[in-house]
Symmetry: C2
Subunit: 147 residues, 2 copies
């Protein structure tokens, strides 16, 4: 099957400079960051400011290759990479749901940053509860973890 | 900024053959589909079957280019592409949260398919309410839409 080439639309600025710093998930972070959308894409931000939360898709640019079995940050047992949110994966695409504090031209101020500074941004989508919330879930190893 | 090359890890089979068929969101779909993970990645599925819902990241391979202002399926007004979930976007990465019905070797049976048959798969992540649910959101044009 063909490869697909992704071209960053911007860059995410955060307080986290080295890999050990970011919190484990955006939902556990109150860090403020700034999403810089490259000016040529700025018209695509119209009406985004009506949404309180947005989904960022980005590249874990510092991850080095991948293993198919990994020990996630929140457990002491190995699991298949696709049963975890671990960054080192075959296609190193991260997703974070963050609070949108303000939109100024091509800059988005966000709360809940959990990615490294200078992370390449691939996409922004509005978070829509009707689309994105599932309840009554079973949560595998995450429910019974020891960490 | 450098481009990033994504290499599909599998393919999603669904009942939808042409673009007009898929439902607008996975949350509105009860269609059963099958995710075929290429055999070399199958070890990465270990323990995924403990999760009732998974997030699929895939390529909207039939989308032709993009506009920065689009009229989404659920409104009659144009909005910035990043304020919509419309497929034709700068990096055509779709995300769908689907129910995981069964795992058999490298095949996942899913409910809630909303993508075309033969969609290239980039990643699978477990859906974890602690990470993925936000409440008390503002939902922009989606709240006041007329369609």
């Amino acid at each position: 099957m063909n490869d697909f080439v992704m071209h960053p639309i911007g860059v995410i600025h955060s307080p986290y400079i080295v890999k050990e710093q970011p919190p484990i998930q955006a939902s556990r972070s109150q860090a403020v960051g700034e999403v810089e959308v490259f000016p040529e894409y700025a018209p695509g931000l119209q009406d985004l400011d009506g949404f309180s939360h947005i989904i960022l898709l980005y590249v874990w640019h510092e991850a080095q290759g991948f293993d198919l079995l990994v020990k996630p940050f929140l457990d002491d047992q190995k699991h298949g990479i696709f049963a975890t949110r671990y960054p080192g994966r075959p296609n190193q695409i991260g997703i974070s749901i963050v609070r949108l504090l303000a939109v100024r031209d091509n800059l988005l101020e966000i709360e809940g940053a959990d990615m490294l500074d200078n992370t390449p941004l691939l996409d922004i989508k509005p978070y829509v509860p009707d689309f994105d919330i599932r309840t009554g879930t079973r949560n595998g190893w995450y429910e019974t973890r020891k960490v």
